[in-house]
């Protein structure tokens, strides 16, 4: 099933471009002046790298049958990388994952094979961790990387349809579908 930029826009309409309310990120380690990942010891990371890394992770955490992942993730990130403090914490966490990829596997996450990307995320503990924006590395990776992407997919119409619900929670899909029978 093809994901489109329209799905990305729908996911954003559903869960929002970040900015106004400090979701969990205000509880993240307080780096004071809006400083970036460099203060945390990780290498600074450009938005292009953030996008490439998340597209690479999406290819692992999304099911095989979706296509159009790159455009979808990029469209979604257009909204999610603009506000603070969510965007800042998102960048920091991706930088951290990328730093770990470089030190364990000698390459940025985007350059690893799908199998290695999957293994890295599991070695980090992001599969069994419960998301927590100010938790351990595993919990933050689950929050800002894995669940960020899963939320985008499953709150979008195409993701909903994959799961068997045309109007997934978080998506304003109208007040008619609930009354219709299965097709």
């Amino acid at each position: 099933m093809e994901l489109t930029r329209r799905d990305a826009a729908a996911a954003l309409a559903a869960i929002g471009a970040t900015g106004g309310v400090a979701l969990g990120a205000d509880r993240v380690r307080d780096s004071g002046d809006g400083a970036s990942a460099s203060d945390e010891g990780a290498d600074p990371i450009t938005d292009e790298q953030v996008r490439a890394s998340l597209v690479a992770v999406a290819r692992v955490v999304y099911p095989e049958e979706v296509s159009g992942v790159e455009a979808f993730v990029n469209g979604f990130l257009d909204g999610r990388l603009t506000g603070d403090p969510h965007a800042r914490a998102l960048r920091e966490t991706v930088a951290e994952v990328d730093g770990i990829a470089r030190s364990w596997y000698d390459a940025p996450i985007a350059a690893l094979s799908a199998e290695t990307r999957d293994r890295l995320l599991r070695e980090l503990g992001a599969d069994t961790a419960e998301e927590d924006p100010d938790g351990t590395t595993a919990e933050r990776v689950r929050y800002y990387v894995v669940n960020e992407l899963l939320l985008a997919l499953y709150a979008s119409p195409t993701g909903g349809e994959l799961a068997g619900i045309e109007n997934p929670q978080g998506y304003p899909g109208g007040a008619e579908s609930y009354a219709r029978g299965p097709r």
């Binding site: 955490v61 909903g160 929670q169 007040a175 609930y178 009354a179």
Partner: protein, 535 residues
């Protein structure tokens, strides 16, 4: 008058105010709106003014497992500290929101009238007191409240009390799962009917029709679900002054009148708001707390408390439920509200069994988004799990009445204080056997329906694991006798001639219907009484 928002906004008192309303939920909002055109009205609200633009992000909090329900509207912390002293635990901060709009920011939006017998529990059912008013006294106010909130409903409920006008909007269509239930219910001779929603089935009152976000409880990003910001904003447009983050700490008074509401502002300053009339509309827990905090040498047991009953008779509705899996699609979780119910058994209530109403869920079982965010899997394995687990859940709920019990009460905790150093509310909640028997009875009918439908029953909420529906009632009860009650039939306190209470705290008994339409109807009635007193 709109003053700017933010921590340093002008929060000084309004000069020569006629009416000071304390609390900006639906009760306070409706009264302020009713009086603002002809009177100088000031509203003091403990919580903040939330930015409507943030609702999508609050919705994300509602969906993401990292956040608890109270986090969605910033409930918790020292401001909202409380303690539990009773037999039953009460999760107070899941049950309220502080801010302009009050708990309706979080609510579900089911709005139903009480039945005629609910006003006469003592004489009709042999238990509890009668209310000092009848259904007929409230009937025109119910109709007005339905117009104010914007209620979508139909005239298809043979068990509902009499009404003369249709609901302001047509009811939402029944859900697909309602149609599955309907077959089973028909077989059993059980009647289903629509349920009224304070939710736009079409554009109403400058708010859009429901667009199906599906997160109604705890946040509706579109504004299709009514919340009390509607009335607070309207009151402001008519000239009322609304101060947010201005918790009232006590009411200054002499023997016969409240003279000032003493409130704090974010910078820690205390101010005195004087007025001709005061309306306390702080919800069923903070209302008795404020009266108890206002004790004086004149009223050592607390304000308006000559009866000694302020805080007593704390009640909530109890939940009973059951559900499981069906071997066909049930199409749950498209929307976050109910479309059908059954009031057939409501008026069978007597001394032994209380009234209860049945609900047919449209959101039973997990939604795919939640499943995705909470599993140990991703990729194809996750999708397979979602496809296997989403789609066949089906369930029912019920609300059950509990009787007023004097020992079930809200008191002040002498050992714990809030962010301002004021004793926090202590909830001592007890329930009683009649409610537990009623839950059993509701479970029996639920089981009958689900079995008829062929459901493999997987969960049950019964007497042993029931919990509250977040409706705080009874703590400043209404009555004719000042020794037996706190306010009179007009909601004016027996003790203080210029002080009214608008809240479900005035309900002498609870019935089993969600309380807010009755709160709204009573508030409109009290507004008339305040206006008459001011003239």
């Amino acid at each position: 008058m709109t003053r700017s928002v933010g921590p340093s906004a002008d929060r000084t008192p309004v000069e020569s105010a006629d009416v000071c309303v304390i609390g900006a939920g639906p009760a306070g909002g409706l009264i302020a709106d009713r009086l603002a055109a002809d009177h100088e009205v000031v509203v003091l609200e403990a919580g903040p003014r939330f930015d409507p633009a943030d609702r999508i992000e609050r919705q994300e909090r509602a969906i993401r497992p990292a956040f608890d329900r109270p986090d969605v509207w910033d409930v918790g912390g020292d401001r909202d500290a409380h303690s539990n002293g009773g037999e039953w635990f009460y999760p107070l901060n899941h049950a309220r929101v502080k801010g302009i709009g009050g708990s309706t920011l979080h609510w579900q939006g089911m709005v139903v009238r009480l039945h005629e017998d609910d006003f006469n529990s003592g004489s009709e059912r042999g238990v509890g007191p009668d209310w000092p008013i009848e259904y007929a006294d409230l009937r025109p106010h119910y109709a007005a409240a339905e117009r104010e909130l914007g209620v979508a409903g139909a005239d298809d409920n043979p068990y509902a009390p009499p009404r003369e006008q249709p609901h302001p909007m047509p009811a939402f269509s029944p859900s697909y799962s309602d149609s599955l239930f309907a077959e089973a219910c028909e077989e059993l001779g059980i009647d289903m009917h629509s349920v009224p929603n304070a939710r736009n089935s079409e554009a109403y009152d400058d708010r859009s029709a429901c667009v199906g976000y599906g997160t109604c409880q705890p946040v509706c990003p579109s504004g299709a679900k009514y919340d009390a910001t509607v009335h607070v904003d309207r009151a402001e447009r008519k000239g009322a002054t609304v101060l947010d983050r201005a918790p009232v700490e006590y009411l200054d008074h002499d023997a016969e009148r409240v003279t000032a509401a003493v409130y704090a502002t974010p910078d820690g300053t205390q101010h005195r708001q004087t007025a001709e009339a005061f309306v306390v509309a702080c919800g069923g827990v903070e209302t008795p707390r404020l009266l108890l905090l206002s004790e004086s040498s004149q009223y050592p047991e607390g304000l308006a408390n000559s009866s000694g009953l302020v805080g007593s008779f704390f009640m909530d509705h109890l939940f009973a439920g059951m559900g499981g899996l069906l071997d066909e699609p049930t199409r749950q979780n498209h929307v976050g509200f109910l479309t059908s119910g059954c009031d057939q058994f409501y008026d069978e209530a007597d001394e032994e069994t209380g009234p209860f109403k049945l609900e047919f869920f449209n959101y039973d079982g997990p939604s795919p988004v939640t499943m995705a965010l909470t599993g140990d899997d991703w990729g194809d394995a996750l999708l397979e799990r979602i496809r296997a687990d989403y789609g066949n859940h089906i369930g029912m709920g019920a609300l059950v009445e509990q009787l007023p019990r004097e020992e079930s009460r809200v008191a002040l905790d002498p050992d714990r204080t809030d962010h301002r150093g004021n004793p926090v509310p202590e909830i001592n909640w007890t329930v009683g056997d009649r409610a537990l028997r009623t839950i059993e009875r509701a479970n029996e009918i639920q089981r009958e329906i689900l079995e008829e439908l062929g459901v493999d029953i997987g969960w049950q909420v019964g007497p042993e694991n029931t919990g509250p529906a977040y409706h705080h009632m009874g703590t400043t009860r209404m009555g004719e006798d000042p020794e037996e009650s706190v306010v009179d039939a007009e909601l004016r306190t027996h003790d203080l001639g210029n002080c009214w209470i608008a809240s479900s705290s005035v309900f002498p008994t609870a019935g089993a219907m969600n309380p807010t339409l009755t709160i709204a109807a009573l508030a409109l009635r009290a507004a008339d009484s305040v206006a008459a007193a001011l003239h």
